[in-house]
Subunit: 286 residues, 2 copies
Amino acid sequence: MEINIAKGIGFCYGVKRALQLAKQSANNGGASCLGAIIHNEKVIEELEKEGIHTIRSIEELKTEKVIVRTHGLPPDVLKDIEKRGKIIIDGTCPFVKRAQNLAKSLKEEGYEVIIIGDPSHPEIIGIQGYINNKGKIVLKEEEAISLPYRKKRGVISQTTQDLELFKRLVSLIAEKTYELKVFNTICSYTVNRQREAEELARKVDLMLIIGSRKSSNTTKLFEISKRILPSSYQVESSKDLNPEMFFGVKKVGIITGSSTPNSQVDEVVKKILEIDRIIKKEKDND
Amino acid sequence: MEINIAKGIGFCYGVKRALQLAKQSANNGGASCLGAIIHNEKVIEELEKEGIHTIRSIEELKTEKVIVRTHGLPPDVLKDIEKRGKIIIDGTCPFVKRAQNLAKSLKEEGYEVIIIGDPSHPEIIGIQGYINNKGKIVLKEEEAISLPYRKKRGVISQTTQDLELFKRLVSLIAEKTYELKVFNTICSYTVNRQREAEELARKVDLMLIIGSRKSSNTTKLFEISKRILPSSYQVESSKDLNPEMFFGVKKVGIITGSSTPNSQVDEVVKKILEIDRIIKKEKDND
């Protein structure tokens, strides 16, 4: 079996930066992160061992230092943390920060702000906080089609959005708007991996997209790959693999989300090699 | 035969306004229009009788008064006319004027200006004049796809553009641009007629789109109708009709471009009724 590993694997810039900040801050007395710092369960478990606790609400806060997750936090939450006299360590991804600032300035310039993204995703909840939750969130084509006509609209996107969906939605919003200002805030890491996932899916017989199902960018890579190659699987660990998946497969493609550590790739590759040996043996025995 | 005439027929606001201005100005000593005031040969012939001459170049100019065509003129041409001491009567369609101004301000604000339109159309030549011919004209999807990545782009559209093509091109440009400002300058008359052409084409057996082949908006109505109903015909006069076209046709739909006078609709309807009588007679004789 030939294993093709994409260039776009492992942590992106924003994830690396946040984890580094978190680890530095954990030294004296530990630190807390409000919500998962990134969407990867294994990483969270390891951080816990290093004294970085993931808390669900501000009421659980016991440490002096509070890390802001890569997806950012709404400003009123940050103010609340400050009021409690805590030290804030800002792990917000710079691309997310930029989207927050752009949403804010669009609103100040009088544009109705449209956010292309998932309303339940922490990044979107954070961005909404910067515009008093007045942004209109659009994720489905029907939602864009049903928009009323407006004179001025500004669009930003979740940084991990599927580029093709973003393009379709912008096109539909352009029809309903006289003056439209669009910021393509999809981050370059996301776009590059989406392109690579597409290319790889065309060349192989089976695609493995490694990363948590809670990870937006991983799930989007999976959806993109699946559109091209039905034999595409989102895997969280080597346990998600079984020999049946690989029967008749000559070429495997591997890509990961931005919050997937390289160790998870190594583990999956190891398992594929094992499966390959089993399949070969069975063939020889036939 | 049932004849369904669209609501959107006859002159649009901009054409009515320009023709009114032209006729008023023709009273003393006549007037000249540099290029066809609107794209309709019959109207031009009639204007000629009223003393409004269509000239091809400024060198042919003999009258004191010069009418600016609905599609507008580049500012250097206007300056040239002024220098010659002539009186300018501005028949530029207000929607076109707005597109000219928007192109200018986008350029001043540092955007690379993209004009969605036909490079040889007088409206586009006029708009380009307002931005020193520095606008990038995009009409085909391949042209949008091959654009390099840019930080700031501003988009305006020919006022008579096909809305669906505009949407597709905006979507492709959004992929290649970080900050994109789009003005949907397609005029409301154009959009409404395009919608009506679509609806009508779905309901009838044969569509007639009346207007000159030189008329951009008429040709686009024809293309839109043809996509839905292959039996769609662009007709310039009743001479373009023949009985064969109507065999087996129960419902005819009629729509016109913005530069088509109502008299042309009357003439076409008259011819259809004649043809209907001929077909019925032949049937009775069978």
